[in-house]
Amino acid sequence: MRRLIVLLLLCVSLNLHAQSASPDLLHTVLGELSQHTAVRAAFTQQRQNPALTQPQNSSGELVFVTGHGMLWQVQQPYQETLALTGSKTTRIDANGNVQPVRSERGVSQISQMLQSMLAGQLDAVLRQFNVSAEGTAAQWTLHFTPKQARVAQVLHGIQLDGGAFLQGIRIDMQDGTQTDIRMTDTRDAGPLTALEKHALGLP
């Protein structure tokens, strides 16, 4: 219910200049997304893995800063802060110590695409994915299928949906794993805390 309200509010805040699915929709969406240089949102992630009997849920808050990366702060069912900056992933402990997580390429493929998307850098995305768009600027869905055979062996596709802000990410793997991330309470981030700046390598 709350999500619906947020969605409605977003629709109101967004100029309804969008037409139905057009080749320009992708650019419109990207242009809109890149308007927000720093965004904060609450997220819930649900993952279904065929190896597991029940879906896994986690939730927390994320901060995205164009050109710098993303902070992924899990609050439930455990506490963890990951900083995804470019091709690097680091874990920040409670004391603010930054440890490198050397699983760079595994994490980076999708997170880098997201970072490029949110920064409006279509070239970097199109190098790795075929993209199609549907809907309107107020309510759109983008489909990404990997171009690289090696990636396509493991990744089936990614779907993003949203309006003024990104609202959902769905990742389908070839082994049947599905990840659904919903974002709520999306807003411009405002000033960052010292810890957030530190984690993203900002001055």
Binding site: R102, G106, A149
Partner: protein, 787 residues
């Protein structure tokens, strides 16, 4: 000795020369492979006390030596990839390349994982090891983190094979996962802000130092690049590899030999023509020098098996010293006028020539004592060349110079006399002492500004464009530089791996501190058995109560059959180095293993990646048993520094050695007078180098040794010759000046060389010989010339 005996001896000498030329020609051109060594590093001395380190350095040089790395860059991704494919195809057509890799064979990522499953409980990352060792390690949370990890692409281990992700984490830090090059469209690609870079590698079908291979490979690459440039405009190709450095070094040396050789030949020819006023003496002087150079080349190849580029360049300059002997004989002939008789003339110059040859040989023999094969070869070359040139004056020239000649040109003799008188007058008595004191006072600030520099790059100075391309390729691909590495030794492979682990712990600290990009070592890919057992021991408590483990796993949602299968695989077997080395995955890294020998023990190499300071790398190896940093450039710079410090002592020793020779010939009282010109010449040269802000190197000191040898010769020539030309004052100094000018024309031109070492050498000789030639009239008492 009668006239026919003179001819007979000349005949023998000619026959011997001809045989020498034939032998030399066969050695140089008749054996298929050219004995000219273009590998600049090959002439560097063995620097390592540890013989295995030398072997390792050579092996590493060869692992990289015959490989060419190309990086195809374009702002547009598709064009970069198309260009790389085209380049790969074009190069693969040419038989000069044994193999060309642009497109990768398709392979399944899952294949990477399978061989490691049997060892999954033995392989842990540092981070997991630290976490597991914590008293508060929470398995349930670790599982939750793994199954909820954001944005995983699923490349790597399957969840049910690796519930905690330990193996996944370990695989993620393997070198093939860390490379900045990502396989894309079957090409290894890196993306930068300015576009895409695609890697193409090629292996030569032969050595990078073979000039035929060099020419063929370079022309094949140039042509392929032109085609690509046409098909995909805007493409850039970055290149690196020993091939390009070797080709550049060869081109530079050829340019030097041609330029120095040509200009000095023309200059000397014009001088001799002007002074002797006839082409005959000119031809004889060149004949004598030519015989010397041919003999020197032949003997050097015979003794050393090959000849260094540096020696050839030096040899081109040596012409200037070898020509002195014939100049002296030709001057004696010109000065004798109609009274010329070849044997009497020979008797007249013989003591001077022998004394000059003796001092030169002493100087070069000292140079030959340096345990540095390039210097030894230069010494061998010089000693042979000088001796043969001198012998040709004794045995060949008298037969060819039976008729008398025109006297030396009047202008040169008058000019020399005027200069000689001026200098003698200035330098005599009270005024001379005052002048010397003033000059020495002026020299002091110069001496005080002297500094030194022993950087190896003085000797091996790659063209800046090549070095810049290599740096860019290293930056984009992360491929290592190969000149600095650690040699890790132990009694067996287990100890070697343990010692590597101790080293890599420190290197990781440097990586975390941003001082180092990374490292490449075997222990990162195959931990020591001790480490593997310790890893297993860290996991053992988790498996101690299988029911508790089942509880954690089922709590995270794992299926019971997967759980059972996974727990059945505990504890598994350790991964052994030998088994790993045989796997196809190890192929690119096999050269890191130096082998296991019952006598010498086992050894491996660890390569630091990125530009780290030598002192930091040194510190990482400090106090670690069996670990040595092999830093070839630093070792050589060290060696240069040591020899430079000894060189000043050698110079002193050489002067001391000459003293008894001169004392025997001229009496002890006159020794300072004869020695003053070269010694003061050296002193003033040092002062000038100080004023010019030239840091002193080993090569400056080597040149000063030559200045001493040549300068002593001039003093000897003047003293010995002066009594014979009393009828033509100034003629003897004219011939000495002629010698000095030919030396300046040959050695001095080295100051224009492309090699910094030779530039230093040339400049020092230019200054030293110049000063000495001006000072040399003081070696003859003033009263003798004023009469």
């Amino acid at each position: 000795m009668n006239r026919s005996a003179l001819w007979l001896r000349a005949g023998w000498f000619a026959v011997a020369t001809l045989l020498m030329i034939l032998l030399g020609a066969w050695l140089l051109f008749g054996r298929g492979r050219s004995p000219i060594q273009t590998d600049l590093l090959a002439m560097l001395p063995a620097t390592e006390r540890n013989p295995l380190a030398e072997v390792a350095a050579q092996r590493l040089a060869h692992a990289n030596g015959d490989r060419v790395i190309l990086l195809v860059a374009h702002a547009d991704d598709d064009r970069a990839k198309a260009a790389a494919r085209e380049l790969g195809h074009a190069l693969a057509q040419d038989s000069v390349f044994a193999s060309v890799t642009a497109e990768l064979p398709p392979f399944d990522l899952q294949q990477l994982v399978t061989p490691y499953l049997a060892h999954r409980f033995m392989l842990l990352t540092d981070a997991d090891r630290t976490a597991l060792a914590q008293p508060g390690y929470n398995p349930a949370q670790a599982l939750a983190q793994r199954v909820n990890e954001p944005f995983v692409t699923g490349v790597g281990t399957r969840l049910q094979d690796d519930p905690f992700g330990w193996l996944q984490h370990w695989m993620d830090q393997q070198p093939w996962s860390r490379s900045p090059l990502v396989p894309e469209d079957n090409l290894l690609t890196a993306h930068r802000d300015d576009g895409s870079y695609v890697l193409v590698t090629a292996t030569l079908n032969g050595s990078s130092y073979d000039d035929v291979i060099q020419r063929r490979a370079l022309s094949a690459m140039d042509q392929a690049e032109r085609t690509i440039e046409r098909d995909q405009p805007g493409t850039r190709v970055l290149r690196t590899g020993a091939l390009f450095y070797a080709a550049a070094a060869r081109a530079g040396a050829e340019h030097d030999v041609h330029m120095v050789g040509l200009i000095s030949t023309i200059g000397i020819a014009l001088l001799l023509l002007g002074v002797f006023r006839s082409p005959g003496p000119l031809l004889l002087a060149f004949l004598s020098t030519g015989v010397g150079v041919v003999a020197a080349t032949t003997v050097s190849v015979l003794v050393f098996g090959q000849i260094y580029l540096l020696t050839l360049v030096f040899g081109a300059a040596l012409l200037g010293e070898a020509v002195d002997y014939s100049i002296q004989y030709l001057s004696a002939r010109a000065n004798a006028g109609d009274a010329w008789e070849p044997r009497a003339g020979l008797r007249q110059v013989r003591p001077a020539l022998l004394l000059a040859l003796g001092t030169s040989l002493l100087g070069y023999a000292l140079l030959g004592l340096v345990p540095f094969s390039a210097l030894r070869q230069m010494a061998c070359f010089a000693m042979t060349g000088m001796t043969v040139a001198c012998l040709s004056v004794f045995w060949l020239l008298p037969a060819l110079l039976q008729r008398s000649a025109k006297p030396l040109s009047a202008v040169s003799v008058r000019g020399a006399l005027a200069l000689q008188n001026l200098i003698s007058r200035l330098a005599s008595g009270y005024r001379g002492a005052l002048l010397a004191a003033v000059l020495l006072l002026l020299a002091i600030p110069g001496w005080r500004q002297l500094r030194h520099d022993d950087d190896v790059h003085l000797l091996v100075a790659p063209p800046a464009a090549l070095a810049a391309q290599e740096a860019q390729i290293r930056d984009i691909t992360g491929l290592g530089n190969g000149t600095q590495f650690y040699l890790v030794q132990g009694v067996d492979e287990e100890q070697v791996l343990q010692r590597e682990e101790a080293l890599e712990q420190r290197l990781q600290g440097m990586v975390d501190a941003g001082q180092l990009q990374g490292w490449l070592g075997l222990a990162g890919m195959v931990p020591s058995l001790q480490r593997q057992h310790a890893n297993q021991a860290l996991l053992a408590p988790l498996f101690a109560q299988p029911d508790r483990m089942r509880q954690w796993l089922s709590g995270a949602g794992f299926r019971s059959e997967d759980m059972e299968r996974w727990m059945q695989s505990w504890p598994g077997a350790p991964l052994t180095l030998q088994a790993w080395l045989k796997s196809p995955l190890a192929t690119p890294f096999r050269y890191l293993w130096m082998g296991d020998d019952t006598h010498a023990g086992a050894a491996s190499l660890v390569l630091p990646q990125g530009d780290a300071q030598s002192t930091l790398l040194q510190r990482a190896a400090a106090d670690l048993p069996g670990v040595t940093l092999v830093d070839k450039p630093a070792s050589i710079s060290d060696l240069f520094g040591r020899y430079r410090r000894y060189a000043s002592l050698w110079l002193l020793a050489a002067i001391v050695l000459i003293v008894p020779v001169f004392a025997w010939r001229y009496g002890l009282r006159d020794v300072p007078r004869v020695l003053a010109p070269p010694v003061l010449g050296i002193g003033f040269t040092l002062a000038m180098l100080g004023y010019l802000q030239q840091p002193l190197t080993l090569f400056h000191w080597m040149a000063l040794m030559l200045v001493l040898g040549v300068g002593a010769n001039y003093a000897v020539f003047l003293r010995e010759g002066e009594p014979h030309v009393t009828h033509r004052p100034g003629a003897m100094y004219a011939s000495v000046l002629l010698s000095a000018m030919t030396a300046l024309l040959s050695f001095g031109l080295l100051a224009l060389s492309s090699m910094p070492a030779l530039r230093d050498f040339g400049l020092t000789l230019l200054l030293g010989i110049g000063f000495t030639a001006l000072l040399v009239p003081t070696s003859v008492a003033y009263r003798m010339t004023s009469s």
